[in-house]
Symmetry: D2
Subunit: 397 residues, 4 copies
């Protein structure tokens, strides 16, 4: 591995991408740490960086070991908007943890911001940009290597984020959590890409909300629009590790299984190798994952692209390519699984014969910002919950 330590000593993100290198992103923090016991579903805030830094450090280490070249600061939704006064300490601690682990390998630190909860009903550009600027100040102080504006459902807000971040002089990547149908105001992916590049983003793409297949369809539309507009940008994809053939434009949040019943949708390592190959063939060179991406999924990207990159990640010392580690098993039929053709072609079973293979997303007819979708300021009352449950019952028939 590369010598480590001083920020700036490594090749920068744009330098890498411009030289044609594959940059491997990292994976899931919120969902993974929820399962490990350190993040609360619903709020999805990253106070674990101060409460349980060992747990966060360990996850960074696992991604580094799996091949990640980017340690994203675990700062998702960590703004004044969601975390009150605690937000600044959280962001600073997250930067330190990311830098510490990045220093142990060939990885850069990326400061990450995401959409605000206020945009949906208050499109207050000044206020929202102020929130972004506050976060940026911490990233600047902590000398992150570049910046990522991710998880935007509306291109307008994403543009505001990019406009804010480029003031730092650092490279900016921007990814939206949209599918081929476009953003939640109906702006097609291609137009989103064009606007983001014009706003100053050097790297654009998608993250979260959809599975690898759908996400690459979206990136393809972005790529085509940029080419048509004669704009240049690097492509990036960080999809879910969940199969979501049944999502509508709002993505996996609306699936009835979100967030506590997504298990049967989790991608295998072989699904991810296929994704890595398809992303590469499409021209994507910043290839990572979002919710559901465990370290072994990131390793699968690094293994699939090892021929192009010329090396395997550290964690491959504990992994036989395409199941080859099974060739010593006592049972001959398990040994016979030690090959690519087997795993590539296997249609794995769910073990759940009483369950369907696809779900109808919820939605109740409201797909855009309405009063019903405002951020709750207080916990829903018993009475309100009862009304919701009745509505749910009715809608699901």
């Amino acid at each position: 591995m590369a010598p480590a330590g001083r920020p700036g000593a490594k090749k920068g993100i744009l330098e890498r991408l411009e030289s044609g290198e594959v940059v491997i992103g990292d994976g899931s923090f919120l969902i993974t740490l929820e399962k490990r016991g350190y993040v609360k579903a619903g709020l999805w805030t990253p106070e674990a960086v101060i409460e349980h830094p060992d747990a966060v450090r360990q996850l960074h280490m696992e991604f580094l070991r799996a091949g990640s070249n980017v340690m994203q600061t675990f700062t998702f939704s960590a703004s004044e908007d969601n975390m009150e006064s605690k937000w600044e300490d959280v962001n600073a601690a997250a930067c330190d943890l990311a830098r510490e682990v990045a220093g142990k390998g060939d990885a850069l630190v990326a400061g990450g911001i995401c959409q605000t909860s206020i945009y949906k009903y208050h499109k207050d550009e000044t206020r929202i940009k102020k929130l972004f600027r506050q976060q940026l100040e911490v990233f600047a102080w902590k000398k992150v290597d570049f910046l990522i504006a991710e998880y935007f459902e509306h291109v307008e807000e994403a543009v505001w984020a990019v406009e804010t971040l480029i003031a730092s002089g650092k490279p900016v990547a921007a990814t939206m959590c949209i599918g081929p149908e476009g953003d939640l105001h109906g702006v097609p992916p291609g137009e989103c890409a064009v606007r983001l590049v014009k706003a100053g983003a050097s790297i654009i793409g998608v993250n979260c909300h959809f599975d690898p297949t759908i996400s690459l369809q979206t990136v393809k539309l972005m790529k085509e629009a940029l080419e048509a507009a004669r704009l240049k940008a690097h492509l990036m994809s960080q999809p879910l590790a969940y199969h979501t053939p049944d999502c509508n434009k709002q993505g996996f949040i609306d699936l009835p299984e979100f967030p506590f019943g997504l298990e049967p949708r989790v991608a295998t390592r072989w699904d991810i190798q296929k994704y890595a190959r398809e992303a590469y063939n499409l021209g994507v060179r910043y290839i990572g994952g979002c919710c559901g991406f465990e370290p072994y999924h990131i390793r699968a990207i690094a293994e699939e692209l090892a021929p192009e990159r010329g090396f395997l990640p550290p964690a491959s010392e504990k992994h036989g390519s395409w199941g080859s580690g099974l060739d010593m098993h006592t049972k001959p039929w398990v040994r016979a699984r030690a090959r690519k053709e087997y795993w590539e072609n296997l249609r794995i079973a769910s073990g759940r014969p009483y369950n369907p293979s696809m779900s109808k997303p919820d939605g109740w007819g409201v797909t855009k910002g309405t009063a019903e979708l405002m951020q709750q300021k207080e916990a829903t009352t018993e009475q309100q919950l009862k009304e919701l449950f009745e509505k749910q019952k009715f809608k699901s028939q």
Copy 2:
């Protein structure tokens, strides 16, 4: 949490079980650490305890935080048989790690041994008991609180293990990886239980190989046989966290998805709450998990049985019971998921419409020890693999 630190200061395992306490076991190490990048599938040996102690310590911590009262030493298959000279260091380090974490909460340390790879073709009682005794010596030196003989497919070998372990004077638990059809020589679960108790085990049950439903059916047969024989023992279950309605008597190893395509079978936290309740109702008081059990699954046991136990585990500070943490979500249909009835009744989808819901286990007609099932001493040759692949193709038609 209880004050910690000195071995012996806590209530012992039998003291707890005899007073009617629920003891919560821990979960998956091999499979979980394989996904985190520290264990190699195929060999499944625990050298991570010396190579990457931070990763192992972190996983112990997560289980402790989730509610585990037992830290099993990560010594699975760590005998001279599989690890050559390294085995002793591995076992000692595993004891130290388990003890270190157990000291931070109300948990005991259990030294674990499992079936040997030589039993299948050399039923050499002397040699096998020697292997067990070697492991026991380390456990005695490291002062583990009690002993577990687990993952036995043949009751004869399990009895040898128990006979060896009771010499230590420590309490012995014994679990077999069998289903309702019994051990691989056809000995029914009830008879297995009787023999194990007669050999000296104080706690008996099953672990691994089958899902919670099937595992509890097996424990029920054990319980009935013990009652019929007027023998007394505490009951224990540590099943898979995978749905396996389609296994034959050999368990999940024979499923075509083992070990790299089991994702869609992973249990939800709600499945595990149901398991915990059913185990409790059956009279099982040592309730844990095996392969596939992540920290959130263990937490689900602790939450389901919180009314009986009177307290929640530390990790519940990050978990709203039955999805209650969703009651602040902006989308009303996500808020409507904040209740028990929703998650209990949801039939979650696999997101894989081109895949089946059940698989035919492999097996090729050989279900007992034959020459074909001997431990490979060298990696399978190219030619041998070709022959296996042809055989596989033929059998799968």
Copy 3:
């Protein structure tokens, strides 16, 4: 085909079976004619024989053409018990239709009776035997070739039927609609078989309620018990053409899909060829079908066993064996389907990704004769229905 016309001119049923011939039964009347518009679901009575004789004659013709050697009179549940005074005309007309069509080929006429609706709550042997005797009188008058007592859930009533029918001096076949768990009073299949043979049946087996696989498991238990008791009888199977891996002991009636949502369970012709082969290998020589068996399913039996029998049925002039008729198709990938390996190994899709593959049978905890299960004498009232719907809602959670 054999010359036709005079009753008695053909080889009798026992003569055929004793010489080792395969006798092919016919298929579904009630369910098939319900779909064609001539039978009402719920009542399931055969008044179509007098109301729409052309429709019934045509179905007999199709089965004859498909290879059936038996025309069962369409007299299912046509007794005084269910049809009041109309029953006698219906039975007589049914015999005439069956005889007319049998005369056009190598088929015998079998008079059929089934369980009564009164047995469940009035076990009045005298009254029930009188109902059977009334039906038998018509069969004797119309000179049917042999008799079938079929669709019995309780062996006691089946024995009464056999005792009544043998008085005629004609050969008697007796089939129960049970699975491997036995009759609804818990009498195992083997004991049922023994009692029926002792009562005088020459041919015994199962019909209806379960799929071919489960039905043959039941016949196997019957066969083994007869051998153990040193009794001799010919074996017969007439299963459903529906896949029912999820039935409990009460069979497909309790599946939530019965009777208007069974479509996705319908067997293919290839499933039926497999059934015919397995039945033959088990020693069954009277091989037919029950609900769901369309003419092409019967043809599949005749085609599978053509090598043993030495001839194909008339309808095979319109059928290429194993899809061979596709070899002229314009699309090469459709031509490639013209072979046995293709259809034997294809795992056909349901086209229903939002649906499960198995169902939980209804049952509500009442599996034997209770007040709730009495024959309704009047249509259920609105109020009663409401109560049932509430109960249904509760039970399905």
Copy 4:
């Protein structure tokens, strides 16, 4: 029912549609008669009209009884092209049968022609129109009430058919077997509709190849294009009774299950009631079915639209609306199925847990007319089949 007998005494097809009446088409002949033993798959020619007229008459009767207002002559692909000299007798006999049955109720006779097998590689307008004209001559001689040009994959050929048929002065309906992606040369449905109406068709729509949902999507596109072009035509739909969510633009022929493994895809009567309602709401007034539509499916259309039409079809004497006939069943849980909510919301199971819910269509990369797609003049040789099987094996991986 209306008095019958003399052709012309009934209201004509356009008179009905212009007055807003719902016209119910008929259902499946080829596939249904294949299952009854009278049509050979692969060739799919209707010589049964002369070989087994009783079987064809009976099927017409069942559709009439189920509510059909149109008896389509069973002349599918019965041209000189496919049937040599026999074609003329077949067409004449088909007309007589259709007329005979139409005379027994309120039904018209429609003469039907379909695409030729020569268009794909010889786009010889003169020759193709000659084939159509020959068929038309028989229809004119037999005085059919109107004409249907159906099952066209290419709008160019469909236009030739319409141009030929309108010369007769009879009303012409034209339906294409296409989905929302358009014809096999890529002409969108809307443009197809415009061209067909401009060529003279009074009724346009789709038939075959896709399920009801997809077919109505296609009709909607046709409707919108006609409105945009200010053209007027009546809308017609005759989809498959198979669920085909997984078809590509070529429809169900390319599904691996075609034609001998489609059973699990068959629609229930409730699916068809939903279809009838949606078709009606879309403005379709000629509502029927194609392959897979059995008499009970047609009855479901008539029952769903009984409120609008004011009457039920004859076959409803044997059918309780929405399962109401079950209200006398002995089992309370079967009685509880006697209502609309139950059947509307039930997600019926396939009974096939080892099978997937969707399939990948075949296609091998050739989707348009290539040499590989030419009509075979001789049966494929053994050698050619071997090559195909190898290709199939390769493609299916």
